[in-house]
Each structure stands twice: as structure tokens, then as C-alpha cells.
């Protein structure tokens, strides 16, 4: 086999090495360093570097290197403006007749660092970066065949780097969008909380009621295995479930005497009023409005506004019913004082199957049990309750309820 043929075969195998590295699953840094090794091994250069054109900063940043910029040797720095006027994807050899087109600072920097050749790499009109190589280890000159091979390699690397750059831009865009979304989400929550505070302020007895209902509902939904997206929906529903009370007279809401038939009729309008007010809002979560509309339905079909029964009532509405009722029981009302936890649990038990769904009550009891035993890092329910309950009585009650409901 002639030497020329052997060299040609080595060049072909180098191209194969290059495509193997370019198409590997390795991360970009490893990939580009491997690519540099392929080039250095192909041309027997003992120093090499690949620079990346960072468009935002207008700078050339080294992304792979060997031999250059090692301690003791002068730093290899290349300014973008000195490379831009040069031909695209054409190798420039230092010290030959062609190097007069290179600017003096560029030539000086390359020489001092020990570079012998460099090639600006482009994809169409996009300046991608620069590959720099030292002279050959064997002191042979770069041949015209080397130049042809180097151009082919440079083209491939340019495309790889450009793809990576597009990918980075895309990732950055995604990250920006995510941040923007997160910001909007927080603003949205703040708005809704302010709105809820306005509702609660109208009814002097229900300060922070909406907030607690939202928290309880979230805890129950999570216990039932809801995904975080739907959990956020029920959180919003919890905050807004009483928004219709804005339209109901304060006299009825804050009345100390027992409510008349007429008062009750007025008060019971609030779920429908809430849903009417909210129906114009395009919530990203489905069923927020429906969940709110039906938070006073009862399992036995005697609730309002639609007298839905059993499975006609959505799980979200059932959760909201329990969260709302439990908070109503454990806080003072104009017409009665609050129940302690023991009494509230007994009432939940008594209303099982008529007002409340056993599955929801079971989930609620499990959370309470976990919170009492300190198993939850951030309790949602316990901090809002009176602390003077008898621990053994409560845990006994909870265990009995959970056991009964698991049957």
C-alpha cells in the first residue's frame, strides 16, 4: 500500500471518528473536547483550541483546548472584529504569504501562544467561532490535502456548534418563559387573596375563612392523590368560593338572631352568585366555577343550589364542602360559638353519608392524624385550631373514624 493511500485512509477514518463524536450522546463540553482531539490527532498538532462566538457579548470564548493557555504560556486571545473580515471556513496558515491579510494584533496573539493555523467557522451568515491549531508535532508543513480535510471537518463542527447554540437559546427562552409564568402566577395568587380578603372583611365573623378553606382543600386534595396542577385549581376555588357574599346584605351575614326563612333564602344564593361572578373569568383549571357553585350540595341530595346527590357531586365540590363546613364549625359565628375539635369530629361522623362523603372525611382525618403526630413538615389544619384538646381522645376518635371508613 502506498503512503498516499495510507494517509488517505487515515483521513477517512478521522472523518468517521469525527462523526462518531459529533453524533454521540455526550454532553456538549465533552463532545467538543473530543472533536478537538480528533482534529489534533488527525493533523498531529500538539496544541489546539476551539473558540465559540458568544453573540450577546461579541466575544470568542474557548470551549475546548489542549496545550494553549496552559500555565506559563501566553494566553491565546482572539478578538471577534479581527476574524470577521476573513473568508468563511478557510484555513489561514501563519508565516506563509497569505498571512498578510491577518491583522497585526491577531497575528501577534496567535504567534505568541504558539499557534500555526486557524480557521474561522461559519454556518451561512452566522459566525460560529474559530479553530486554532499549532504547527505539526512532526514539523511537517500542512499540505493542501490537510486544508481540504480541515475545511470538511470545520463545516461539520460549525453545524454542531450552531445547533448547540440554537438549543441553548431555546433553553434560555423556555427558562425566561417559565420565570414569567411563575411571576404571573404569583401576581394571580396575590390578586385572588386580596379579593378573598375583601369577601371575608364583609362578614366580620369569617376573617381569613377563605384562606383556611383553601388550605384545608389543598391538604385534602393532595391526600387524595391529586396532581399539583389540579391542587392549584382547588386552592383558587377555596379562596373564591364565597365571593358571591359580596352581593348579600351584611345584615343577613352578621345577624346574631336565628335566621328567618327569608334570610336563609338570601344567604343560600351565595354559591350561585359566586359562580355567576366568576363565570366570566377564564380559569386555566377546569371546573373551578362548578366546584364553587356546588360547595353547599349534600350527599343525600338535600343541599343547594342544585340538590345534587352522591356521585352527581364532583370530588372537588365534596372537598370544598368539607373544608368549608369544618372551618365553619371550628370558628365563631354570629349565632353560636365555635366547636372544639372533638365536637367537630363527632359532627363530621354524624353527617357521614348525608352531608359528607366518607372518602373525603377519611382523607381529612388521615391528614389531621399525621399533623397531630408531627409527620407533616408544614401542617395546614392544626395551626388554625384551638390547642386545648385532649390528645388521646382526638387520636382515638381519628383512628376509629379512619378504621370505620376503610371498611
Amino acid at each position: 500500500m502506498s503512503l498516499e493511500l495510507k494517509k488517505a485512509l487515515y483521513s477517512i477514518s478521522s472523518l468517521a471518528d469525527l462523526s462518531q463524536e459529533i453524533n454521540s450522546e455526550k454532553n456538549f463540553t465533552t463532545k467538543i473536547q473530543s472533536v478537538l482531539y480528533v482534529i489534533m490527532g488527525t493533523f498531529l498538532a500538539n496544541k489546539g483550541a476551539i473558540f465559540w462566538h458568544e453573540r450577546d457579548k461579541g466575544k470568542l470564548i474557548p470551549v475546548a483546548g489542549k496545550g494553549f493557555n496552559e500555565t506559563g504560556s501566553p494566553r491565546l486571545k482572539i478578538a471577534v472584529e479581527h476574524v470577521l473580515p476573513l473568508s468563511k471556513n478557510e484555513p489561514y496558515l501563519l508565516g506563509d504569504g497569505n498571512d498578510t491579510v491577518l491583522s497585526r494584533p491577531l497575528k501577534n496573539s496567535l504567534r505568541k501562544a504558539g499557534a500555526g493555523l486557524f480557521i474561522p467557522i461559519w454556518v451561512r451568515d452566522e459566525f460560529i467561532g474559530v479553530i486554532v491549531l499549532s504547527n505539526k508535532f512532526t514539523s511537517e508543513q500542512y499540505s493542501p490535502e490537510d486544508f481540504e480535510l480541515l475545511k470538511a471537518i470545520a463545516n461539520q463542527i460549525a453545524i454542531t456548534m450552531n445547533n448547540h447554540s440554537l438549543f441553548i437559546n431555546l433553553s434560555e427562552q423556555i427558562e425566561k418563559n417559565r420565570e414569567l409564568y411563575e411571576e404571573m402566577r404569583l401576581i394571580y395568587h396575590d390578586t385572588i387573596q386580596a379579593f378573598a380578603a375583601a369577601i371575608d372583611a364583609k362578614d366580620v365573623y369569617t376573617k381569613n375563612h377563605s384562606q383556611r378553606v383553601a388550605k384545608y382543600a389543598v391538604a385534602i386534595a393532595r391526600e387524595l392523590g391529586w396532581n399539583e396542577y389540579d391542587v392549584e385549581g382547588i386552592y383558587i376555588a377555596g379562596f373564591l368560593h364565597d365571593v358571591g357574599k359580596i352581593i348579600i346584605s351584611s345584615d343577613v351575614l352578621n345577624k346574631k338572631d336565628s335566621l328567618t326563612e327569608k334570610d336563609l333564602k338570601e344567604l343560600r344564593r351565595h354559591p350561585v352568585l359566586s359562580s355567576k361572578i366568576l363565570s366570566n373569568i377564564k380559569f386555566p383549571w377546569k371546573d373551578v366555577v362548578k366546584t364553587i357553585k356546588h360547595h353547599h350540595e349534600r350527599l343525600d341530595g338535600t343541599g343547594y343550589p342544585s340538590a345534587l346527590a352522591g356521585e352527581e357531586i364532583s370530588e372537588g365540590a365534596k372537598i370544598l364542602t368539607l373544608a368549608d363546613s369544618f372551618d365553619a364549625m371550628t370558628t365563631d359565628r354570629p349565632y353560636r360559638g365555635r366547636k372544639d375539635l372533638n365536637e367537630a369530629l363527632v359532627e363530621l361522623k354524624n353527617c357521614l353519608g348525608t352531608q359528607f362523603d366518607g372518602r373525603i372525611v377519611a382523607a381529612f382525618c388521615k391528614i389531621l392524624e399525621k399533623e397531630i403526630k408531627g409527620k407533616l413538615p408544614q401542617p395546614n389544619i392544626l395551626p388554625h385550631l384551638d390547642k386545648d384538646f385532649d390528645l388521646s381522645v382526638i387520636t382515638g376518635l381519628l383512628e376509629a373514624l379512619i378504621q370505620e371508613l376503610s371498611r
Binding site: Y10, S34, I39, M40, G41, L44, G48, K66, F137, T138
Partner: protein, 117 residues
């Protein structure tokens, strides 16, 4: 096949055994292994290629880096058991820069003779 490198010292000489495929970035461990001996002051080295299965352009560039580093520190690098790769090294013009021996014993004997310098 993965690349691995082992080594031992014989007197004041380090014998390095690259194993497997020297064809990807994992081969950097060969350079590191050699450098770690140079940093300890050992400048006589034998690279035994008996366990090497394959070498490509990446492997060649890593070898260049070992050769240059050792030459730069005034050391001696001997190659042994390179018969499968001799043709490639020769075609690339590298054999001029390599001290090649048939086997490890010959290389160690040569380095032993130079130990007095």
C-alpha cells in the same frame, strides 16, 4: 470496549499499561497517569501497548500529549509491543520521535543502562 490504564514502577521507571480502546475522551486517563509520575519526579517511562486493542485519531492526539510532556521534562519514553500500530505510527511520521522496543524487558534494560546519567 472501555479504556483503562494500570501502571507499576520498576526501580526509577514507570511502566504504563493502556488497556482496551484508546478512541475517546476516557483516554485522557492515560495522560493523567503519565503526568502523575512526571509530577513525582519520575521521567523514565515505558508504555506497553500489549493490552491495547484499538487506537484512533483521539488516541493519537493523547499520545502526542504524553510524548511532548515527557520530552518537555527531559525524560525518556519507551514504547513496547506496538506491532499492531507500527504501520500507522510510521505513516504519520511519529516513529522518528518514539523509542520503540520489542518488549518491556528490552525497554527496561535500555533505561537501566541510561540510569547513570
Amino acid at each position: 470496549m472501555d479504556f483503562a490504564v494500570t501502571s507499576k514502577t520498576v526501580g526509577d521507571t514507570a511502566v504504563i499499561y493502556p488497556h482496551g480502546y484508546l478512541n475517546n475522551i476516557a483516554g485522557e486517563s492515560l495522560v493523567k497517569e503519565c503526568n502523575s509520575y512526571i509530577e513525582k519526579g519520575i521521567t523514565k517511562m515505558v508504555l506497553n501497548f500489549g493490552g491495547l486493542e484499538f487506537i484512533n485519531s483521539i488516541g493519537i492526539s493523547l499520545l502526542l500529549s504524553v510524548i511532548e510532556r515527557l520530552n518537555g521534562s527531559g525524560g525518556t519514553l519507551c514504547f513496547t509491543d506496538i506491532s499492531s500500530y507500527h504501520e500507522t505510527f510510521e505513516m504519520l511520521g511519529l516513529t522518528k520521535y518514539m523509542l520503540i522496543f520489542r518488549n518491556e524487558e528490552d525497554a527496561l534494560a535500555h533505561l537501566g543502562r541510561t540510569s547513570g546519567k
